[in-house]
Point group: C2
Chain length 553, copies 2
Amino acid sequence: MLHWLRQYRRAMLPGDMSAGIVVAMMMIPQGMAYALVAGLPPVAGIYASILPPLAYALFGSSMTQSVGPMAIVSLMTAAVIAPLAPAGSALYGVLAAQLALVAGVVLLVCGALRMGFLANFFSRPVMSGFTVGSAIVIAGGQLKPLLGASFPQFHTPSAVLGGVSLLLLLLGKRYLARLLQRCGLSAAHADLGGRLAPMLVVLAATAAMPLLGLQALGIHATGAVPSGLPELNLATSSSHWRALLQPGLLIGFIVFLMSMSAAQTLALKRNEKLVSNQELFGLGAANVASMVSGGFPVTGSISRSAVNFSAGANTPLASVITAVLLAAALVAPTGWLALLPLPTLAATIIVAVLGMLEFDTLRMAWRYDRGDAAAWAVTAAGVLALGVEAGVVIGVLLSMGTLIWRASRPHIAVLGRIAGSEHFRNIERYAAQTQSDILVLRIDANLFFGNVEAVSERIEEELRTHPSARHVVLVMTAVSSIDTTALFALSEWNASMRRRGVCMHLAEVKGPVMDRLRESDLPAQLSGPIFLSTAMACNALQECREGGVAEYI
Amino acid sequence: MLHWLRQYRRAMLPGDMSAGIVVAMMMIPQGMAYALVAGLPPVAGIYASILPPLAYALFGSSMTQSVGPMAIVSLMTAAVIAPLAPAGSALYGVLAAQLALVAGVVLLVCGALRMGFLANFFSRPVMSGFTVGSAIVIAGGQLKPLLGASFPQFHTPSAVLGGVSLLLLLLGKRYLARLLQRCGLSAAHADLGGRLAPMLVVLAATAAMPLLGLQALGIHATGAVPSGLPELNLATSSSHWRALLQPGLLIGFIVFLMSMSAAQTLALKRNEKLVSNQELFGLGAANVASMVSGGFPVTGSISRSAVNFSAGANTPLASVITAVLLAAALVAPTGWLALLPLPTLAATIIVAVLGMLEFDTLRMAWRYDRGDAAAWAVTAAGVLALGVEAGVVIGVLLSMGTLIWRASRPHIAVLGRIAGSEHFRNIERYAAQTQSDILVLRIDANLFFGNVEAVSERIEEELRTHPSARHVVLVMTAVSSIDTTALFALSEWNASMRRRGVCMHLAEVKGPVMDRLRESDLPAQLSGPIFLSTAMACNALQECREGGVAEYI
C-alpha cells in the first residue's frame, strides 16, 4: 500500500503529470458515454471516475492501471438494474451504486480469501467471444440515440449530427495522429494527440448546439448536470439488496477478469510483477469508493490503461492527477455539459467499442483448435441471444467444459522393453518387446476426478485385449498429482483386478506424489512394493513367474 | 439397443426372474416412499417404476442398472415444484411429470451431442458431501410424518408406530440376513432375504391398521390409490414450462451423475464396458417414459442396482420383469395400499437414507488432501443451508475451483547440466551446472488457460533473479498439450522477452504437440529452431556466444 509513494522520485513527475492530463481529457467523454450505456445520467460517469482511481492507487497492484467506467461492466450494470427500477428514476441510480458496493465487497472478500486464481476461469477464446458479443450489444444499443429514433426510423437532424460525429471520430482515429506527426510532433506525442479526438469532437458538437441552434431542431442533449458530488443514499428495501446479490457476484467476477486482462498486458510491457490477490483488493476498494461517490461498478480498462502507460504514467500518481482534474471539472461551471448532444455521445461509444471487435483470436483458434473456435462462437452468440449476464455463465461453463472434455481423453501408452536395454517405450512408436502376462501402461496425465473414469475404461479395454495378463504395471512418470477421487479409483482398480486374479503395480512414482501416497492406505493394499523403475518391476515379476510363484506378494 | 436380447441364452432366465421379483418387492415400499419425498401421492412412485425401466432396457448401456425413483432426485423434484404449485394439487403432479420430460429431453440432447464427459464435473469428495447433505435434508423432512406432528411436538400413536417401524427396520437390516442364514439359507440368499425387511414391515404395519384399529387413533395412511395408470395431462401455461427449464437442466445433470456413479460401481464388479453417451440416452428415454406414465424424474439407484445385481440379474430382462410385476400390482385390487400408515413409510425413508450417510470419503480426504475435505464440508453445508439445487451449483463450482486452483500452481524447475553429460536435471535436487546467460526452465504441466498466468509470473520471477540471462530455454518434456490461450501466451512471452534483448527457445517438444504448433505462427516468431533436446539447445547457444554472435538467429 502506497509503496510507490515512498519510492517516488522527482523524475517520475513529468510522465505522471502528462498521463494524468491526457487520461482526464479522455475520461470526460468516455465516462459520460459509459454512464449512458449503464442507463445512468452522463454525470454519473464523472462521479465514477474520481474516487475509484484514488482508492485503487491506495490498494491496487498495477502502476499504470486506469480504473473507472468500462463499457462491458456498464452494459452488465444496465442488464441488472433495468428490470428493478424505471430508467432515469432516482432508484435506478441508487441501485447502481448499491451494485458497485456489492461487487466491491465480493472482490474484497475474494481478496481476503486469496482467490486470485479466479482470473483463470475464462479461456482466452471465451474471453474474446464474450468481449465481441458485448461490443455488438453495446453498439446496437446506441443506434437509437445516434439516430434520434428507433431504427429503421430516424430523426433527420439527430441522424445527421450522429453520422457527422461518427465520421469525424473515425477519421480522427485514423488520421489525426498522422496529421499531428506531419505537423512536427514526435510519433509518440502525435499518437497521444490522436487519442484526444473524442474530446475534440464532443467539444465541437457541444459548441455547435447553441451556435447552430441544433436543440431547436429536436436534437436531445444530456441535460443539466449538478455541480459537486451527489448525496449518498442507500436506503432501499432488503429485497433490492437480495436481488443484487447474485448479479453482484457475476459483476465482481467480470470486473476482476477485465482488469486482470488489462493489467496482464501492461505487466508484460513493463516487466512488472502482478499480484492478483492485491488486484482484488484494489478493485474492491475502487468499487466501494464508486458507491460512496454515487457512481456504478468500475474496473480497469485496457484501452485507457494503455493510453495512461504510453502517455508516460510511472505510478498511480497519474490516476490521482486525473481524479483531481475531473473533480475540478465538476466544481467548475458545468453548464456547458448540459448541451452535449446525445447523438455525438452515442457516436463516441460506437467508435470506442469498435476497437473491441477483435477477430484475431477467433482466426487463430480456428486454425489451431476448432474446439476453442467453437467456444468463441458459442460465447459470442450466447451474449447476443441471452444477454451479457447469461454470457458470463456460458463462458465459465464452456471454459470448464473444454477443460473437462480434454481431460476426459488422457493419453495412455502400452509400453514394451527395447531389446537388451532397461528402457521401456510406447509399442506404437518403437519396436519394443512385450510379455503376454505383464501389461505395462504409462499414464500421461495427472490423475484427478476429470479423467479417472477415462483411465479406468482404458485399463479395462487393455485387459480385455490382453486376456492373459496377470500383472498390470502403471508407470507414473508423467503423473505429478493424484487427487482424492483418483486415490479412491486406484484402490478400486486394485480390488477389481484382484477379484479377477490380476495384480496391479505402480512404478516410477514421482517423489512428491509418493510422499502423498504414503499418507494413504493404497501402498498397503497393493500386492507388492511400489517399484522405482519399470525395468525393476518387470524383472521382479518375471523372476516370480520363473520361480513358479503364482502371485507377486 | 436390445443387443442383449439377441444374445439372450436360456441359462440367464432364472437369475433375471429372481432379480426381477426381489427388486419388485423392494420397489413397492421404496417407490411410494420416494414419491412422498418428492411431495407426490405414494402411487406416483409406482407409476414412475413401470415405464422408465422398460425405456432404459431399450436404450441404456448397463445390464444391471435399476432405474426408478431415487431419494436425492425426489428431493430436488420437491424443491423445484413446491414453489410452483400447492402440495397435493393436481397441478403439482402435472408439473412433476413435466419436469421429468424436461430432464429427459436435456439428457437426450446431451446424448446426441455426445456429452458423456459431463459425468466428470463432480469430484468424489464433492459428490459425497452432496449425498450426505441431501440425506440429512431428506431424513429431516420425514420427522413430521414419522411423529405425526412437527417436532418437538408429536402425536403419540403415530410416533409409537413410527418408532416401532424404525426399530424393526434397523433390526431387520442388521439381523434378518443372519437369522435367515441360521435357518439354513445360503449367505447370498439370506442377504437378499434381508433386503425384503422394508416390504415385510410395510405389510405388517398395513395389516395392523385395520386389525388394531390404528386409523381410529388418528394415524394417517396413504389414502385411496386409483387402479391402473393415470391420464396424461400436460396442459399448463408456458410460464410453467419456462420455470422448469433451468431446474430441468440441473435435475438432468444430477440424474446423470447419480446413475453414472451407480453404473460405474457395477461395471467395476462385472468388468462391463460402460458407455456414458449411451447412458444419457437410456436415462433420457426413462425420464420421458416417466412423464408419459404420470411419474416424476427417475434415475439409476446404486442400492437398488446392487440388489438387482446380487439377486442374479444378467440382463435388463430383470427390470422388465420388475416392471410387469409392478403393473400387475396396480391392476390388482389396490385397496390395501390405502391403509399403508405414513409413519411406517417415513421410517423406511429414514432407514434408506441412513445408508447414504457415508463418511469414509471425508475421513480419507481429511488425511490425504485437506482441500478436498474442505470441498466435502462446503458442499454438504451448502445443501443444508441453501438447499439441494444450490448444492449442485456449489458442487460444480467447488470441483472446478479446486481444479483451477491446483492448475494455478504448476511445477517449474530450473535445470542444469550434469557435469560431463548430456543430461539436464532440476538444480534443486541435483548438483547440476548452470550458465549465467542461459536460463533453462522445465514446465511440468500441460499449458492451458488455467496456468499460463502462473507460468508467466514464474518466468518473469526467474528473469528478475537471473538478470544476466540472454536466452530462456523452455523444456517441454512434460507438456502434452498447449491450448489456444497458451499459444497466445507463448507468443507474447517471446515478444516481451525480445523487447528486453532475451531470446526465447523451445526444446524437447513432444510429437503431437509439435504437429499442432506447426499449424500456428509461433515457430516463425521464435529466434531460432525448436531444439530436439535440451543439450542441443544449450550447445548451439554456447557456440553462438563463443563465436561472438550476439543473438541466435
